[in-house]
């Protein structure tokens, strides 16, 4: 009988399940369309081109209330990216330090890190975000306290930074010799000076690699390695310093004018609180991943390194971490994805990310729930896939290569 044929049987079941899944999908889609039609609603993204009409506190690209909902969503997307990227960088740093420190032979450091990891891992992220934000709004002085000849609060870092209960006012970079901006259309611009710095830094980095390779070649041929540190330092810094002099780059310090500080950059407390909470929360998870990765490296490896006379720090950076990375990278990808998705809690502290603009005000003002949510899910999905793809490329480079 055919039913006893394994290949035939597995094929049959797969076909049946596939048909059932498709039927369910068709039923759900059909049901949605019919119910929407019954409510007199259509599925239509036209609202994205209507005037948004609301303002956003933090706009990485120029935006006014006269712009479209689409641009508002884009501003939100950029805000999501800003907090996600800052969070990933900081969480990685915190996680590596905490993970390594938790394995320290120093009793106090190891225990402190255990307390940190357990405290942040086991309390919901939303509570951490709210607590950090509450600390900022309740403890920091209002901008008004900086006023007068004998103010109640004063700026820190040589009168350059003001911590207030609304934002952190930090100095902005200004130029006396502004080269103008590259216009990408849609009022998105890049200053030529920024582009120049990026180009110079990349060129410096490439030059440094070339110097290193050259030194290696000389060493291979002659046995003596030329002194290169001053060359590397020079190619990395001198062009940048020249650019700074050329553009007349300097700090512009924020000043209290009217109700608020102006002249500098006011970093919203919502962003700082969200970033800090995301960093510490995800950092605790990354610490555990790092610890697991290090513990996964056989003890014999470090013993062998010590026997060869490597000092503990060199052992960690040259022997243990490169091997541990193979174990660390895959779960680290998940943590980055989590951090990016968790940033959608931003609205709790009034930070307008894509959930706050497209999924918040736009959704509410236009009443296009399904469209907004579908669009937002698509955006998060694409972002996640991009992060995954990038990290998988990195993983392919560090993973164990069997030849």
């Amino acid at each position: 009988m055919l039913i006893y044929d394994r290949r035939y049987r597995s094929m049959t079941f797969q076909v049946i399940v596939f048909i059932l899944v498709m039927a369910l999908a068709w039923w759900l889609v059909n049901n949605t369309i019919r119910n929407l039609a019954a409510l007199g609603k259509d599925f239509n993204f036209g609202f994205l081109w209507q005037r948004a009409g609301y303002d956003i506190p933090q706009t990485p690209i120029p935006y006014t209330s006269d712009d479209t909902h689409l641009r508002a969503a884009f501003v939100g997307l950029l805000n999501t990216l800003i907090v996600s990227i800052l969070g990933c960088i900081a969480a990685t740093f915190v996680g590596i330090v905490a993970g390594v420190a938790r394995l320290s032979n120093n009793w106090l450091i190891a225990r402190l890190m255990t307390v940190y990891v357990e405290a942040f891992r086991n309390v919901p992220l939303l509570l951490w975000i709210l607590i950090v934000f509450a600390v900022f709004t309740e403890v920091m002085p209002p901008p008004n306290a900086f006023r007068g000849d004998d103010p109640a609060a004063s700026m820190i870092l040589f009168d350059h930074v003001a911590l207030t209960n609304r934002y952190t006012a930090i100095p902005t970079l200004a130029m006396t010799n502004d080269p103008g901006s590259l216009d990408l259309g849609a009022r998105i611009t890049f200053n030529w000076a920024t582009i120049a710095f990026v180009v110079v830094l990349i060129a410096g980095w490439i030059a440094r690699r070339m110097i290193r390779d050259w030194a290696q070649r000389v060493q291979d041929q002659t046995g003596g390695r030329p002194t290169t540190w001053w060359m590397s330092l020079a190619v990395m810094t001198v062009p940048s310093l020249l650019l700074i002099l050329y553009f007349g780059l300097h700090f512009e310090t924020p000043e209290l004018r009217g109700f608020n500080f102006s002249g500098g950059i006011n970093v919203q407390n919502g962003l700082v609180a969200l970033w800090l909470a995301l960093t510490l929360y995800t950092g605790a998870f990354i610490a555990e991943i790092v610890r697991a990765g290090i513990l996964a490296v056989n003890r014999g490896q470090s013993e062998a390194a010590f026997a060869l006379g490597l000092r503990p720090r060199r052992t960690m950076s040259l022997v243990i971490l490169p091997q541990a990375l193979r174990v660390i990278i895959p779960p680290l990808i998940s943590q980055y994805l989590n951090l990016m998705k968790n940033s959608s809690l931003a609205i709790a502290v009034g930070y307008m990310d894509i959930k706050g603009t497209l999924g918040g005000t736009t959704l509410n003002q236009t009443g296009r729930e399904l469209e907004s949510i579908v669009l937002m899910m698509g955006v998060y999905l694409v972002l996640s896939l991009i992060i995954s793809a990038g990290m998988n490329l990195f993983n392919a480079r560090v993973k164990l290569k069997e030849r």
Partner: protein, 338 residues
Amino acid sequence: MKTSVFLGTVAAATLMAGAGMADTLADVKARGELNCGVNTGLVGFAAPDANGNWTGFDVDICKAVAAAVLGDASKVKYVPTTGQTRFTALSSGEVDLLARNSTWTFSRDTDLKLDFIGVNYYDGQGFMVRKDLGVTSAKELEGATVCIQTGTTTELNLADYFKANNMTYQPVNIDSNAEGEQQYMAGACDAYTTDASGLAATRAAFADPENHIILPEIISKEPLGPAVRHGDNNWGDIVRWTLYALIAAEEYGITSANIEELTSSSQNPEVQRLLGVTDDLGAMIGLDKEWAKRAIMASGNYGEIFAANIGEQTPIGLARGLNAQWTQGGLMYAMPFR
């Protein structure tokens, strides 16, 4: 993964869109309870008291409708909704009636498929600031940080007002009135803006209301009213005429105190029709003869409801102003019961 995500969305949307096309009156009667969407907490309009009982100006609308339809003003399930969730709650069928100080606007009435059935409070958007700020006019708010509830008409008015006056501001987006209060009290914003009635109610809850002023500028028209789903006209009629019954009762001098007496003794044909003594108006909307009488008895007529919750004798202390009867120079005008 892509398919499963999509299916999830569709399933959620289906659940949301599934309800709500039926006969709301029959649903409410079968359930024996009115689901009424109210504010999550705005003293005077809708807020639970120490015992968890909801009271307020909007809550009394819910009670009047429950009394008219179910014969018992206590048969109401209050569903707290935020500025963001309220219209979804209504259009998905989670609530039968939304009495949540919501502004009647063109797009909400048409595009969001709601039906505003009338206006129970004529309001306008204002600003509240601390007295020691020394600000006396909204025109002096150049560069100020302003707390604003997201998803409200006030968010759009605020943007328009500052743009029209060529001023800049920093918005601080908050989700609920309670959060706004907290941010404002902590000094995280210079001004708090919402409907003037909401500002008065919020200020009344402060420990030091005398240190805060509401600026004189009213920057928008905010006609607040109960809303129902578009499409069920009979249910809309019931809620609309329940509100009119409360307003008309004040006009004719029917109060919760004298309603029994007037039912038996009044010779005024308008009063007789309203209270179901002569004509049977209730049958025309699927209710019994005494529906309006019960609605009025629930918490009194419009004037009584106003005085008890937000009037000048309460801590909120709102004057009748535009909300006086048309005979007193206000805008409250019930259509004739005939």
